[in-house]
Symmetry: C2
Subunit: 356 residues, 2 copies
């Protein structure tokens, strides 16, 4: 019996579209795909694993609306999943990878078109990596009790949490693939032929239903302190979290690399914490012509200028200024992602690693 | 400024309770914890990464109830996240790890008390591993549109999906830590001192709101075919999925190891597919005295007996029969987890690897 029907066909197409292919029947699965992957050497790691940071217990009588399951009890929420890999002879500072809106730690793994992601690339370059799933997303649990409460008739529908799934069409302009779906920018570096694989990375996002600061922020602070020094590398909606963590405590934060943050701290606020940490804010290309992004870039520039003026070591870079053109919002997945990574690692090496 | 308040204290406690500790300020983070971990040698892998299997596009006008986000568009659902590691000189058949209810692929990683999980252990023993997050859980997106539709007043509260979060108290007996919370079985192997870390692994589960068979099943079938041979190792609520995948197609399924399945196929159904694949069903200890589990064991025994009678190579093992005592439902996290793993790998070696 073979599987059939549109769902199964989709499943098989999806399987075939991914990054791993078997070379032939009877052989061990091997990487295939882009020519670069044929050159990948074995990777030796000192240690790997996963754990959680944070979390608090809450009691609820609306834990379940599934048949045969008890609704009353205690669950743990607000914890943050962290997976790590430590290479042999690791450099001084691990890099903590903080994904953006509607995404998970998967952002930093194999790219949609099957190339090596930054998580592995950084390990191969000698950096331990700690990859998180933001609180209430991915492998970090969300609290379902408010949803069940409405289904059970205990509370009104308007108490349901604000939930957001990014549609492909809106994500197109948010991710700056082009001015509007499905029109791309002429110089776009994102591998659009593999866009379906990116859409599969998107998960529903409860950020609007979480307290401020997001519980991810104190968790990042705790992680940084536990690691006794880490570079917080953040993206998009997660972009501001390292700054918010630094406002809690600069302890353990060796540096901040914020990629395409949607928001930066106010230039008029307390800039003290930010003057103590090397800071790099990075945007890709086509920012000034993107109505959603141009004001964000401007606001972050004002923040960086204010920090520099206050004596901090802060820099904002648009990638075209340093020779990279066509980068989208998903620059860790763009075709030139490893070249951009090399530039970032060089900045980290010169400004953080060598200064410690 | 230091972080304070109960949430932050919880976060720090959580951080300190995990598996990775820094040895001293100024050093690279290193594994610490149980004595066994001091002996861990570096691990060389041929390749690693992640991808998705399956997925289908759906259009909705209730994608978002978050401020400033469009509600209309296309999202992709039913895809299954898969992460993989392939050791040097991998054995013939990868092991695909399929977690159970209310959990994610994290189940197979570092144990709650900080020991090596089966995913890494299997890789160190020469097996490529493919670890999934079931559809609509973890890094595999769920569809939020039915929830948003109710919040927007378009549909009634009783159309909300059935959602289930396992409370610690109920999970206690489900995971067979003891007869009732918080009383343990006298011989329990689960590291109860680290139970808080297990509770953090639990995520809300939408299984009751998904079609039957769960979309994870055709995705597993597609993955198995793509790998051209894999051992499907499943747990608990995921326990029956390999059997359901085999009913779709036996292609690519080199063997099935079902750990503590909540249900097995009916012994009176079409047993043809199951006679073609080596099958091992495993339960831990204290099953006969657990009202929830004794009938499940009995039903699975009837299935295995029927498959064997029909000419299949099927075996059901209660771990005490082969010398392991006190194992809980979470046997991959029990204190003797690596000894149980050795027994399983020996069975796989003799019944699948050497027979191919």
């Amino acid at each position: 019996m073979t599987i059939s029907g549109s769902r199964c066909s989709d499943a098989i197409r999806g399987a075939l579209a991914g990054a791993v292919l078997t070379v032939a029947a009877g052989t061990t699965p091997a990487l295939a795909g882009s020519p670069a992957q044929a050159d990948i050497r074995p990777l030796t790691i000192q240690a790997q694993g996963s754990f959680f940071v944070g979390g608090r217990d809450v009691h609820s009588d609306t834990l379940s609306t599934a048949p045969g399951r008890g609704a009353d009890g205690t669950i743990t929420v607000d914890q943050m999943y962290v997976s790590y890999q430590i290479p042999l002879h690791a450099r001084r500072y691990p890099i903590t990878l903080i994904h953006g809106c509607c995404l998970t730690g998967k952002s930093w793994e194999t790219t949609p078109d099957g190339r090596m992601g930054w998580q592995e690339y950084f390990v191969r370059k000698g950096y331990a990596t700690y990859t998180i799933d933001q609180v209430a997303r991915g492998r970090s649990a969300f609290d379902p009790s408010t949803i069940n409460s409405v289904k059970m008739g205990k509370t009104a529908p308007d108490t349901l949490p604000a939930l957001f799934a990014a549609g492909h069409e809106e994500a197109w302009s948010v991710f700056r693939f082009g001015p509007e779906y499905p029109k791309p920018y002429p110089n776009l570096q994102f591998p659009l032929q593999a866009q379906a694989e990116l859409w599969k990375q998107l998960v529903p996002d409860l950020y609007a239903a979480l307290p401020s600061p997001n519980p991810t922020v104190p968790n990042l602070s705790a992680l940084a302190q536990r690691l006794r020094g880490t570079v917080l590398m953040s993206h998009s909606q997660g972009g501001v979290y390292p700054f918010q963590a630094a406002a809690l405590s600069t302890s353990g934060i060796a540096g901040i690399v914020a990629l395409e943050p949607t928001v930066c701290p106010a230039p008029t606020g307390d800039l003290g914490p930010y003057t103590k940490i090397p800071i790099l804010v990075v945007y890709g290309d086509n920012v000034e012509i993107a109505p959603r992004w141009a004001p964000r870039l401007q606001k972050c520039r004002e923040f960086i200028d204010a920090v520099a003026k206050a004596g901090g070591k802060a820099r904002l870079v648009e990638l075209p200024q340093v020779g990279f053109h066509g980068n989208s919002h998903m620059l860790m997945q763009d075709r030139n992602s490893l070249q951009v990574a090399d530039w970032l690692l060089d900045w980290i090496d010169r400004n953080i690693e060598k200064k410690s």
